[in-house]
């Protein structure tokens, strides 16, 4: 928050925040219990068996059951909290299918974010309450980490590979956004704010400001500019390259016999370093685009590819915003 008030516990503004806090408070109680028990035992024994006290000091050999009970005491406790935490973690890892997607490009030392409608932001993120938001993130240089304490989420942002995280904000307000992975000189200045708004405020905000091109439109333009269709279009005969309609999310058989899922990271690699994973039945003839298309451009291309349909026949991007203006043949089942 903007005010400089002293705090002992962080703001909670996402649906998982209070559930993480519950586990945290349980662990805190456990810590206090054991620390007080150990400290109490030390104090009690320390006073009782101090030098000079008149007490029974006859040698005592601990029975085996006592040692075994100490050995086994922590086991059910850790299994209990492990299950609790892992269930919650798996939910935090799996975005709902209809999540709105925000694309993030991190670089030394700024956050560049883009909404499905195309609106771009730097070091500031507007999101509506009550709507799951998936962040698809990549770095242009070193490793960064997208961290919003009020949402209790954090995800490293890697160069050369997409990572994702998601959240659903539930309390309007302004919250800190930090880079949590040390990334060089201005690491502590690579921060911004997350503005959580009601859905109507968000729509209003989305409508204002500069009109940026939607990622799908921008991607389609790049597709034209780099003449991808001269090989990838289904109409080319003989087929020189795998057709891209419905590629997103599909299993792809590679020339080396392996099978991969055509996710963001695979498709990006197939553009920047096409020889890394060649599709079975094709020659490695595609030129290398490493360094020729910006991270945002690659992101737009992926948005365009996604708009060509996904493996299960629907667009992965559930947001309405992305639909506007994009060429989306085959987008609907």
């Amino acid at each position: 928050m903007d005010n400089a008030e002293f705090q002992l516990f962080p703001d909670a503004a996402s649906t998982v925040a209070s559930r993480v806090d519950a586990l945290f408070l349980f662990m805190t109680a456990l810590t206090i219990f054991f620390t007080v028990a150990i400290a109490g035992a030390i104090l009690y024994l320390g006073i009782r068996y101090r030098r000079g006290a008149n007490v029974n000091r006859a040698q005592y050999s601990p029975p085996l059951w006592l040692e075994l009970s100490w050995l086994l005491t922590p086991v059910p406790v850790v299994i209990f909290v492990f299950i609790w935490s892992s269930q919650l973690f798996l939910e935090m890892q799996r975005p709902p299918k209809d999540a709105m997607e925000i694309r993030v490009v991190a670089k030394q030392w700024m956050w560049k974010l883009q909404h499905p409608s195309g609106r771009r932001e730097i070091d500031e993120l507007h999101v509506p309450t009550g709507r799951a938001v998936r962040m698809t993130m990549i770095s242009e240089d070193v490793i960064h980490s997208f961290y919003v304490p009020a949402f209790r989420i954090k995800q490293d942002v890697l160069p050369g590979r997409y990572t994702t995280t998601w959240f659903e904000a539930d309390t309007p307000g302004t919250y800190h956004l930090f880079c949590a992975e040390y990334c060089g000189t201005n690491h502590s200045r690579m921060k911004g704010r997350v503005v959580v708004q009601t859905p109507s405020e968000y729509e209003e905000w989305l409508g204002g400001g500069r009109r940026d091109q939607s990622p799908v439109v921008a991607g389609a333009a790049l597709y034209e500019q780099f003449r991808c269709g001269s090989c990838h279009a289904q109409t080319v005969t003989p087929l020189r390259a795998p057709p891209l309609e419905g590629i997103y999310g599909r299993s792809v058989k590679l020339a080396n016999g392996a099978t991969v899922t055509a996710d963001d990271s695979y498709l990006r690699e197939s553009i920047t370093r096409p020889a890394a994973k060649v599709v079975a039945g094709f020659q490695p003839i595609m030129p290398v685009f490493e360094g020729q298309i910006s991270e945002e451009g690659l992101s737009d291309l992926l948005a365009y590819l996604k708009s060509l349909g996904t493996a299960d026949g629907v667009t992965a991007d559930g947001s309405g915003g992305a639909a506007e203006g994009g060429s989306r043949e085959g987008a609907k089942p």
Binding site: V20, M27, A39, L45, R57, V78, Y147, A180, E290
Partner: protein
């Protein structure tokens, strides 16, 4: 092997069990009498120190060197704690700030904590405790100190010519491609020092296997030996992986061959796997020897057998083995698969089992003891409390759902300082006080020592407890500037650091003072068991005039119910 000084060791001193006579009176008459020849006064020449193969002298060389590095690392900490008194940048540029915390981490971990107990107390005590005349490979032992110094001085030189800003974790591709600071020179320093660690570990393992005195079987060994044995296994199995990792960074940085940087076709996550494969077990290199010290101190000052000896011994080995299987808990938010994360989570949580065994047994050792609250015991009891908090907060971090929020925040900074400073440094200081009379033949002023033990405890908690709160609030680590609402907690932390800094100066001062003015120590001032207390203080070069025969278990204190209360 003939012992040139054997004749000077009077057998009566090696068996005298009486507690130290009230000190002070003796010193007045001493100057007239020639000291018996011991490892310190046998030769005063520089050469006799720099070419020594005596494990005790090498231990002293390490003591002096790591104290030097501790002061450097501590000065860096004082500097950045001062900077963090305000949310804005006041004293340093961000570049300098980043170099300071890197320097603090590199120096404290590689040049202080890892060698601290094993290379100083371990070197000095392992042969004495098992009844040997020296380490198995005395020349290798000296070589390891030279490697350490070459590595350490290279690191210092690196700081003088401009420093390095990658953090002690050297994450790629920042370290391998982007940083414009002296990454290579620092990497070379750490690489060289790693071999010193490997050689020390090798020496301890071979000494324990081959040089135990007759009758000293495995379950008669002091727990100090068990924990050093466990730590040494990690040193020789883990450190080579660090060396390989550093080499790979050097190859990428120097030759541009893609290993970690995706722009060159590499994988940045690979570095994290390799780095933590060493650096997580390295945490146990730092803490296991400290466990051994605590076991010795608690037994000696409660005049009691260590409760559950075998459980404590095997817990050390259990921690050493489990420690190799948990590195992935540093990578829960790195993009590692969720299921890999879950495996690392449960394995990390299971380390609570051997750790709890130790804490419970140490506490129970006080039961039916005869407690003397001298300085070493104060450090040991402080250790138990701080290690308990450090260990339990480790469980928070092993839990995936909590770690996502607190990873790379001050929460983890607080946690590992509770283990490293509250654990390893408290153990080191406790051990240094406990064996100081043996190492130097002098007693330190007890009042000052107790006062500084308490100050260290108070200063430590004031420094690091607020950081748990800061971490849960969301303050990322390695932040030069921070939001203003967190200033109060940061000021508390900096205030604690100033107390801690002063508290550390006390022992440095009075321990040096005691070398000249401290009362002379008898062979066994604490009336403790253990072979090291049966030789004179300080010991002779070859430790034992006659090879001891061990007939009792460790900590065979007389049954207290049967003897009168001497106080």
């Amino acid at each position: 092997m003939s012992d040139p000084h054997g004749a000077t060791v009077s057998p009566s001193t090696s068996t005298s069990p009486q507690p130290s006579s009230p000190p002070g009176v003796v010193t007045v008459t001493r100057p007239a009498v020639r000291d018996p020849v011991n490892y310190l006064n046998v030769d005063y020449s520089w050469k006799s120190w720099l070419l020594t193969v005596d494990h005790k002298r090498i231990g002293i060389l390490y003591l002096l060197s790591i104290t030097f590095f501790f002061v450097i690392g501590g000065a860096a900490a004082v500097a950045f704690r001062l900077e963090l008194m305000t949310p804005k940048a006041d004293l340093f540029e961000s570049e300098t700030y980043n170099k300071l915390f890197t320097m603090h981490g590199v120096v404290m971990i590689f040049f202080f904590l890892i060698p601290s107990i094993p290379a100083v107390l371990g070197n000095f005590l392992v042969p004495l405790m098992v009844g040997a005349r020296d380490m198995a490979f005395p020349k290798l032992n000296l070589a390891s100190w030279y490697l350490f110094m070459i590595g350490g001085l290279t690191a210092v030189w690196t700081m003088l010519i401009g420093g390095v800003d990658t953090g002690w974790t050297f994450y790629t591709p920042y370290s391998s491609t982007y940083s414009n600071t002296y990454v290579m020179a620092t990497a070379v320093a750490v690489f060289i020092t790693g071999f010193s660690s490997i050689l020390t570990g090798l020496n301890i393992i071979v000494t324990v296997h081959k040089l135990r005195a007759p009758g000293m079987h495995w379950f008669r060994m002091p727990l100090f030996i068990w924990s050093h044995y466990a730590a040494s296994l990690i040193m020789i199995l883990g450190t080579p992986v660090l060396a390989v990792t550093i080499l790979l960074v050097a190859i990428e940085r120097g030759l541009g061959i893609g290993i970690f940087d995706p722009k060159l076709g590499g994988d940045p996550i690979l570095f994290q796997h390799l780095f933590w494969f060493y650096s997580h077990p390295a945490v146990y290199i730092m803490i296991l020897p400290s466990f051994g010290v605590i076991s010795e101190i608690i037994a000696a000052f409660s005049r009691n057998r260590v409760f559950g000896y075998r459980f404590v011994a095997f817990a050390s080995l259990g921690i050493a083995v489990l420690g190799f299987l948990v590195w992935g808990h540093h990578m829960f938010v790195s993009g590692q698969s969720a299921y890999a994360g879950m495996v690392f989570s449960i394995l990390s949580l299971l380390i609570a089992v051997p750790s709890a065994i130790k804490v419970f047994n140490w506490t129970a050792t006080l039961y039916r003891g005869r407690l003397r609250f001298d300085t070493p015991l104060l450090y040991a009891l402080g250790f138990i409390g701080l290690f308990t908090i450090g260990g339990l907060t480790g469980l928070f971090l092993a839990l995936l759902a909590i770690d996502v929020h607190v990873h790379d925040t001050y929460f983890i900074v607080a946690h590992f300082h509770y283990i490293m400073v509250g654990g390893a440094v408290m153990g080191y200081l406790g051990g240094l006080h406990y064996w100081w009379p043996k190492m130097t033949g002098r007693l330190y002023p007890e009042g000052w020592a107790r006062l500084s033990a308490i100050l260290v405890f108070v200063g430590f908690n004031l420094t690091f407890f607020p950081q748990f709160v800061l971490g849960y609030l969301g303050m990322p680590r390695r932040y030069h500037i921070y939001p203003p609402e967190w200033q109060t907690l940061n000021v508390m932390s900096s205030a604690g650091a100033s107390i801690l800094g002063v508290a550390y100066l006390f022992p440095i001062t009075y321990l040096i003072w005691s070398l000249k003015f401290g009362p002379r120590a008898s062979a066994n001032p604490w009336d403790a068991t253990g072979l090291e207390w049966q030789v004179p203080s300080p010991p002779t070069t070859h430790n034992f005039a006659v090879t001891p025969h061990v007939t009792e278990d460790a900590y065979a204190y007389p049954d207290s119910a049967l003897v009168g209360d001497a106080h």
